[in-house]
């Protein structure tokens, strides 16, 4: 990260020059970013855009606008749609529709198994060729260990990583909250951290067995971080991401809010010590990326008694702020660069070769850029969201540290007018 002020010249969507003293005179437009932080465009490895099939919750267009407003330049959307993205035709559908959007780039993840049924391999080769950037049965683990092993072996040559949703289904069956204080007091069935760590341990063994990289998503517990730390220490190609909600919220919110369904999510919000472990995992390099797991729902699906509400937290437009706010709140436990790498170089290292330029600012690369104001304080207001979601745990909360400008291929897809008064 450069602390000295520097200029960036963008021509036709590509970064042409990075050096100070550039003459802005000839430019169509220039921005003064004094006091702000310029980053490579942020990448979200895991979000649910509900398109095709569940567009009352979100679609690729609204999702891409929401992402842009949240400071993201690339979103990887999950394939648990209706129908699920398990064929090249649907991969192409997502890419084509993404092209009509005026926000982030949207890249599709494809299913590991046909129909997301967890029984046989999906046509991963064809999907990779069509442009799929990850394979996952997210929403579910790949429960059948033999199938997961086959998937790792088979997909190895494609250079497209498998992302496992770590959950032992029999242990977590019917569970709604963390198995700890929350389950004890609420009477709701608990989701023990053992269910997550067990699935991760299994995946790590298969990674060791096949030699193929594997990524674990929305890791939520200290127990899991320990297992992953150990595996990384042995040199195994395992990677993981954590969510903004697990980094900033804990199981106490479920109880103190009077069982408000807005806090209901899978994996559930966990204990304070689990949350602390996630931050330690970021500090020591165990955690590679932050991914939102943005799970938008219609109001009618979330505004229900807790036990009946759907699982999922919508966060694209305030995810970065939620994380920065918590980082401030914890007294900035490590340099901001470390945190920012989890939105940039971390996620890009999980993506296929052709996308590795994402997460860097380099001459010759497309100008995907995110501008942050780490000191800006502002209240979250879901009524102004571009996302179709209208319920979020941070609604009404004052957060510190916001993205104020987003560029995709040199196009300004989001700009915070307040912050940029007098800068352009």
């Amino acid at each position: 990260m450069e602390d000295d002020p520097t200029d960036i010249l963008i021509v036709d969507g590509t970064i042409e020059k990075i050096c100070s003293g550039t003459d802005a005179g000839q430019a169509d437009r220039s921005w003064d970013l004094c006091g702000l932080v310029l980053c490579p465009g942020f990448i979200d490895l895991h979000c649910h855009l509900r398109d095709p099939g569940q567009e009352w919750r979100e679609d690729i267009i609204s999702g891409s606008l929401a992402g842009a407003a949240g400071g993201y330049t690339t979103l990887v959307c999950m394939p648990n749609t209706d129908p699920p993205i398990d064929s090249p035709a649907l991969v192409r559908y997502v890419l084509e529709k993404s092209g009509y959007g005026k926000g982030t780039r949207v890249l599709p993840a494809g299913c590991v198994s046909k129909g997301r049924k967890g029984k046989t391999l999906a046509e991963m080769g064809k999907m990779a060729l069509a442009g799929a950037v990850l394979f996952t049965d997210d929403g579910s683990p790949v429960g059948d260990s033999n199938l997961l092993r086959l998937a790792l072996q088979y997909s190895s040559r494609l250079g497209v990583r498998i992302m496992e949703h770590p959950e032992d289904s029999s242990l977590a069956f019917g569970a709604q909250v963390n198995d700890g204080i929350c389950s004890t007091f609420s009477g709701l069935k608990g989701w023990p951290t053992a269910a997550e760590a067990a699935d991760i341990s299994r995946g790590i063994s298969l990674c060791r067995d096949t030699g193929v990289p594997i990524h674990f998503t929305h890791v939520s517990s200290g127990e899991s971080i320990e297992v992953l730390r150990s595996a990384k220490y042995s040199g195994l190609p395992v990677t993981c991401d954590v969510t903004p909600h697990h980094l900033s919220l804990a199981e106490g919110s479920v109880i103190s809010s009077g069982y408000d369904g807005v806090f209901k999510v899978n994996p559930p919000l966990r204990s304070i010590s689990d949350k602390d472990s996630l931050w330690e995992g970021i500090a020591d390099g165990t955690v590679d990326a932050i991914a939102t797991d943005h799970a938008p729902y219609h109001l009618d699906e979330k505004d229900l008694p807790f036990q009946e509400a759907s699982f999922g937290i919508a966060s694209l437009e305030c995810a970065v702020a939620a994380v920065l706010n918590e980082w401030h709140r914890r007294g900035k436990p490590f340099p901001m660069e470390r945190l920012l790498s989890l939105f940039t170089s971390g996620p890009s290292s999980i993506l296929p070769k052709e996308w590795k330029w994402l997460g860097k600012i380099e001459t010759g690369s497309p100008a995907d850029l995110t501008v942050l104001d780490p000191e800006l304080e502002r209240e979250v207001d879901v009524k102004t969201w571009k996302s179709k979601a209208r319920l979020s745990p941070w609604d009404g909360e004052r957060l510190k540290g916001w993205p104020v400008m987003t560029l995709v291929m040199g196009e300004t897809v989001h700009i915070d007018r307040e912050s940029f008064k007098g800068r352009g």
Partner: protein, 309 residues
């Protein structure tokens, strides 16, 4: 005393003085039940709706009697054959009831958080939780407390042994909180598969051997064992449950002589409790039923009109 609870959802925020006050109010209402005319005009002109989504005869009738003895207008809204069957959401039902002028809604629902949810949606009415999933059953805990207090007086320093399926029990959760707050030590026993994760945080200690839990207990509280739990495989058989955890005369020997035996009802004879114990001298089961009406009268009176008017 200035009563500060508009709703009765759970007992988490109740302090000892709240509990003591309700005990005393319940005693006054209890005396009423001995009169030839069981009626006072305390809630005349108030509309109370009993919104029961789960089948319940005992709790609903108990509330209904309490409401009627206080002269309230009562409406029973049951889930089947109603708009709920046609897909009406709880949110719409709540607003409909408020529009119709309900002053209070008593709700029993299978979903944890339903009573909290209803309270969030109602602008003026009071909500009484008749049981929401496995979370809370505050009126049961209060009537249990009243029953014990009536019989034993000041409960501070006493011990209660609670045996059974605590994991799935809203009665257990609310009772542990209530009895703890009055200074009672609670020890739990039952199959380990039927215990919550952190009993210590809840305020009770787990004893693998029920005889240890019963040692020196002034109150023995038995929870109902549901057939479904055995079907889910959480313990091998009802017979094995009864052999190790069923309260029979032999097991009761380990408690203090004359210890009260309590059960929220309905009882499963031969499973968690033997017939001799259920019908024996120490059993407070019918006393609990009587206390239930008095307690619910006290609660309705205090929350809806009595003390603060």
């Amino acid at each position: 005393m200035e009563w500060r609870h508009r709703h009765v959802i759970d007992l988490d925020t109740w302090d000892r003085s709240d509990l003591q006050f309700i005990m005393e109010q319940s005693r006054s209402m209890d005396e009423l039940l001995d009169r030839p005319i069981k009626k006072v005009p305390a809630l005349r002109g108030k509309l109370v709706v009993n919104l029961f989504f789960e089948a319940s005869t005992r709790t609903r009738v108990s509330f209904e009697l309490a409401e009627k003895f206080l002269s309230a207008d009562v409406v029973n809204w049951s889930a089947s054959g109603s708009s709920t069957g046609k897909g009406e959401t709880l949110r719409d039902t709540a607003w409909t009831l408020e529009a119709m002028g309900a002053d209070a809604v008593v709700i029993r629902h299978g979903a944890v958080g339903a009573a909290d949810y209803l309270a969030r949606k109602l602008r003026k009415s009071s909500v009484f939780n008749g049981g929401d999933g496995a979370h809370a059953h505050p009126t049961q805990a209060l009537l249990d407390l009243y029953t014990a207090w009536k019989k034993l007086g000041d409960l501070d320093g006493m011990k209660m042994a609670m045996i059974g399926d605590v994991l799935h029990s809203r009665v257990a959760r609310s009772d542990i909180i209530a009895f703890n707050r009055m200074g009672v030590k609670v020890e739990l026993s039952g199959p380990a598969t039927l215990m919550p994760r952190d009993t210590h945080a809840l305020g009770a200690e787990f004893r693998e051997d029920p005889r240890d839990a019963l040692k020196g207990a002034d109150i023995v509280y038995l929870l109902r064992i549901q057939r479904e739990r055995q079907e889910e495989g959480m313990f091998p058989s009802l017979d094995e449950y009864h052999q190790f955890f069923g309260a029979d005369d032999e097991l009761l020997e380990f408690a203090r002589p004359g210890a009260l035996v309590m059960h929220p009802g309905p009882i499963n004879r031969g499973v968690e409790i033997s017939s001799t114990v259920a019908d024996g001298a120490q059993s407070m089961i019918l006393g609990q039923v009587r206390s239930g009406v008095a307690l619910r009268m006290a609660l309705l009176f205090v929350c809806l009109g009595g003390a603060n008017q």
